[in-house]
């Protein structure tokens, strides 16, 4: 498989009143062409800022990137000027966000906003673009597409707004779609429609997808490769099947076990295998392994040294001293 995006040794820090917060520390990840990659973790683990840093969408300051390299399609994104990055944004890499209402401009018609994604990058006759927008609207399942071209975002439901955002990514034939919690604000029935749409778009256009979510159910339905993040680090890299059936890192295990599963029958008196404690704040991450204060299998070394991400079998890397002999 051809690598589309490789990220090496990325760190993201924030300058704050309390000093420098190391929100993301030395992470590596790859996205291959036509692959759906999941990035999961609980709130505050750094998954969203990782995604935003790819397109340079972080506000600097307070954020800054002390080290890290992004190689997209053979080009090193770090070396590009802001002007050049803008040509990639929305054309080669598109992004959709959790709350579609805040990412669409309320005073412009949705069709024009999608057309703008094409027209910023290339001069084309407006009529033709309009026709293309309507075609894309149809392909993402927006009913009554001709009329919907001219409506404003507030006239659409959450599910339709998210479809408009996806249409925007499809019309510019992006190679990579970054979807940051695309279905979190939606109902389950609409969620499954949108997930199917993302998967179909991948199948039809060969687009790669980076899917960021806290919902392991969503990941297991659409993703192929998964990165589990905890407190600014990637703790496990694995395939979806392995994550669900044989999670290795104690945090992945805890995460999988703490989900109330629909498949299991209801029984009074049964309790969930909850992880104890909570995600540490960025200024109180423990020395050594960041998970050591919640881990049941803690050893002496865990409090002294941070374990590196190490390959233990095919398609499976874990950052844990248990597997690191």
């Amino acid at each position: 498989m051809v690598e589309l995006l490789t990220v090496r040794n990325l760190s993201i820090h924030f300058k704050t009143f309390f000093g420098e917060l190391k929100a993301v520390r030395n992470i590596d990840f790859d996205i291959n062409e036509g692959e759906i990659v999941g990035l999961v973790g609980e709130s505050g683990c750094g998954k969203s800022i990782t995604a935003r840093s790819i397109l340079r969408l972080l506000k600097t300051p307070p954020a800054f990137i002390p080290n890290g390299e992004f190689v997209f399609n053979g080009r090193t994104l770090n070396q590009l000027s802001n002007e050049e990055i803008r040509k990639i944004r929305g054309k080669e890499i598109s992004m959709i966000f959790q709350e579609p209402m805040t990412s669409l401009n309320p005073v412009f018609r949705v069709g024009e906003q999608v057309a703008e994604a094409v027209l910023t990058h290339k001069k084309e006759p407006k009529k033709e673009v309009k026709k293309r927008v309507i075609d894309v609207f149809k392909s993402v399942g927006i009913p009554d597409a001709e009329r919907r071209y001219a409506v404003f975002p507030h006239q659409l439901s959450g599910g339709l707004r998210q479809r408009v955002m996806i249409a925007m990514a499809l019309i510019s034939n992006s190679k990579l779609l970054i979807a940051d919690e695309p279905t979190t604000a939606l109902d389950v029935t609409i969620q499954s429609q949108i997930l199917k749409l993302i998967k179909d778009a991948r199948d039809a256009y060969g687009m790669s997808v980076l899917l960021i979510t806290h919902d392991l159910g969503v990941i297991s339905e659409v993703a192929e490769k998964v990165y589990v993040m905890y407190a600014g680090k990637i703790v496990e890299e694995t395939s979806v099947e392995k994550l669900i059936n044989h999670p290795k890192h104690p945090y992945s295990v805890g995460l999988i076990n703490s989900i109330p599963r629909v498949e299991q029958p209801h029984k009074k008196g049964v309790r969930l295998n909850a992880l104890s404690g909570k995600v540490p704040e960025l200024f109180e991450i423990p020395i050594g392994c960041p998970f050591n204060n919640r881990c049941e299998k803690k050893m002496e070394i865990c409090e002294k040294q941070d374990p590196p991400l190490k390959k233990i079998e095919d398609n499976n890397k874990v950052a844990c001293w248990l597997y690191n002999h």
């Binding site: 659409v222 989900i259 209801h266 909850a274 992880l275």
Partner: protein
């Protein structure tokens, strides 16, 4: 088992303006003709998508919203028409946990004062020292350290705030607790801790829960019986395992099918088309009819009623009427 709460033909309509000055008044039927009961020590789940009326139903049951019609029996006493003054002794017995632990705690009060407030309002414990003792016991019961007493909500995380909220609810020793999306704002690892805590407290305090949530995995874990709502009506009501193993209503089927499951790939699923119609402009017959794949002629004309099709399994669908 004894019934602790019974709801009969409960309705809550919201006024939605007039078409013109002399025009007809428009109403939104947020909760429309709901019947169910809650048994002592039981957990009843209310599941459904946003806008189906599950939160409105929860609030109307506690009379935080005035019901439009129908009756609410708390242990054989109809509370639906009681004045706020006469409601006071019942408020003590029926408490509510809200969704957003950041919005429901007063940021300028200490945790101790927040939990002690219902004790003062309902005049349960009169001396200050006794109250402090009680609050400390409550903090311990919900898994917080008693010396957090003098801290402010801003010093706590979402999960801890939800624990404070539960401690406040328990202060009045309620019999019924309505949990409105109590764990939705929390991360999965914290969510499971709070769910376990709620189960433990149910045994300890002999509570009956009404658990409102859009997350069907969570609802199934905690509920003994589940009512599925769609546009203000209960479409199906059954015991948890029965509902998940043998869903009858077409909407329940699709809803259960749409849940992202860990061992399930997307390709196998049946997908619901379309979206929930606006509550201002409801279909004349069955409210699910425009999206239903199994609709028959009657569905467009007549709204079905909730009927018992097998023991303790109620469905509101024409397909199951003789």
């Amino acid at each position: 088992m004894m019934k602790i709460l019974e709801v009969k033909q409960l309705k809550k309509y919201f006024f939605a303006g007039k078409a013109s000055f002399l025009g007809e008044k428009k109403w939104i039927p947020a909760v429309d003709d709901i019947n169910f009961d809650l048994k002592n020590g039981e957990t009843l789940g209310l599941a459904g998508e946003s806008g189906c009326g599950k939160s409105t139903l929860g609030r109307t049951m506690l009379k935080l919203l005035e019901p439009t019609a129908g009756s609410i029996y708390f242990k054989d006493e109809d509370i639906s028409k009681k004045s706020p003054k006469l409601m006071k002794p019942f408020r003590k017995k029926m408490q509510m946990i809200f969704q957003d632990p950041y919005a429901s705690l007063n940021p300028r009060m200490t945790i101790g004062n927040i939990i002690a407030e219902p004790l003062i309002v309902h005049d349960i414990i009169k001396t200050k020292n006794e109250r402090i003792k009680k609050v400390k016991k409550l903090l311990e019961d919900v898994g917080l350290q008693p010396n957090y007493y003098e801290r402010y909500p801003s010093e706590f995380s979402g999960g801890q705030r939800q624990r404070v909220m539960i401690a406040r609810v328990l202060a009045t020793e309620p019999e019924i607790v309505i949990a409105d999306e109590a764990v939705s704002a929390l991360d999965v690892s914290i969510q499971s801790q709070i769910l376990n805590l709620m189960c433990d407290l149910q045994d300890e305090y002999n509570l009956s829960y009404i658990f409102i949530s859009h997350d069907l995995g969570v609802v199934k874990f905690i509920s003994d019986r589940i009512a599925v709502m769609y546009l203000g009506k209960i479409v199906e009501l059954a015991e948890s395992n029965e509902l998940y193993n043998n869903p009858l209503h077409p909407y329940t089927k699709v809803l259960l099918d749409s849940i992202p499951k860990l061992e399930n790939k997307l390709s196998k699923k049946s997908n619901l088309t379309g979206e929930i119609p606006s509550a201002m402009d409801l279909p004349a017959g069955c409210r699910f009819e425009p999206r239903c794949e199994k609709r028959i002629k009657t569905c467009k004309m007549k709204a079905p009623e909730l009927k018992e099709v097998s023991q303790n399994h109620f469905v509101s669908c024409h397909l199951f009427e003789e």
